[in-house]
Symmetry: C2
Subunit: 184 residues, 2 copies
């Protein structure tokens, strides 16, 4: 699998069921949401800003297939203070290093200027692995397609200082048929 | 990763948080359970019966590191008629074909005589992939360690006749420290 192919397969509108597991407290969280993934126009303002940002590690790498992602929760059954994170959008630019791995530069929303730089790689069955180091934590995400129209996404959130695992999560994502969209 | 190593890492007592996603109905299921995985004594009666069972596909293959698995639900928040499946035990015998793949023969409980034969393989990061064909469905499971004492387990249940996906699930499993067990 190469990143272009993976992005291509992900383009579309998805209905997501997501379960979060807080390991220390043995608490479940359940979220239904809609996710839209689409290609970005080359003259998109945020894309141009991201391109012009200086990232030492990106020098010498060429961007491919930037995309836009938007997510919006339909419901949060355990309504709490994290609900502000349940909708948002970002632009993501892949920078392949080779066929199986590379870097991902991500804008965090139109409002914030905070960016995130992740590393990605593919396992031999095409599973996509994403690692992102934040200030307080390290996130590891894996995404794999179980059919053309269903993808699974798991994540692990670790403390940045040790190997402590804070939370895991799992999402089942079903593509919303295009026909359905066209009829709306 | 080889199967012996994977079984060795799995030996122990685990506390599991499991989320099930019924895709057609967008329903969540949550189960807390305890899982015990231990080596089997070589004179175990069920093990000897399993060894003597005739399986055409197993001829020429040698068993390694058979183990016993027992699971018991602490609670099922969506109490329904599936609750009888929430506790049980089995013996599992791996039959490696090569370093990365092989077959798994599994007894289904001490009471039933029904057995299941699965194929397994490892991805290049050590993720364990298990496929089992039942009468009505096909199950695909993947298990990966995110630390020495935490493993993740996802499953996909498909209809046997087509590519329809019935259910997905995800479990986060924490090893219960031995010290804690010894003090009990």
């Amino acid at each position: 699998m190469i990143i272009e192919e993976f992005v291509e397969k992900s383009i579309g509108e998805w209905r997501s069921m997501r379960s979060g597991h807080s390991l220390a407290f043995r608490q479940f969280e359940e979220v239904l949401s809609n996710i839209v993934i689409q290609e970005v126009e080359t003259d998109n303002q945020l894309l141009l800003e991201l391109y012009s940002a200086k990232h030492l590690r990106l020098e010498g790498l060429s961007p491919v297939k930037p995309f836009y992602m938007k997510w919006e929760a339909e419901s949060d059954w355990n309504d709490d203070d994290r609900s502000e994170n349940l909708s948002g959008s970002c632009i993501i630019i892949p920078y392949p290093v080779n066929l199986e791995s590379g870097l991902l530069l991500r804008s965090v929303g139109y409002a914030e200027t905070e960016q995130a730089l992740s590393t990605y790689s593919f396992l031999d069955d095409g599973t996509f692995i994403l690692k992102t180091i934040y200030n307080q934590s390290i996130a590891e995400e894996r995404i794999w397609f179980i059919s053309e129209n269903i993808r699974c996404r798991s994540s692990v959130l670790r403390t940045s200082e040790g190997s402590g695992v804070l939370q895991t999560s799992f999402a089942s994502e079903l593509r919303i048929p295009k026909k359905y969209n066209d009829q709306k």
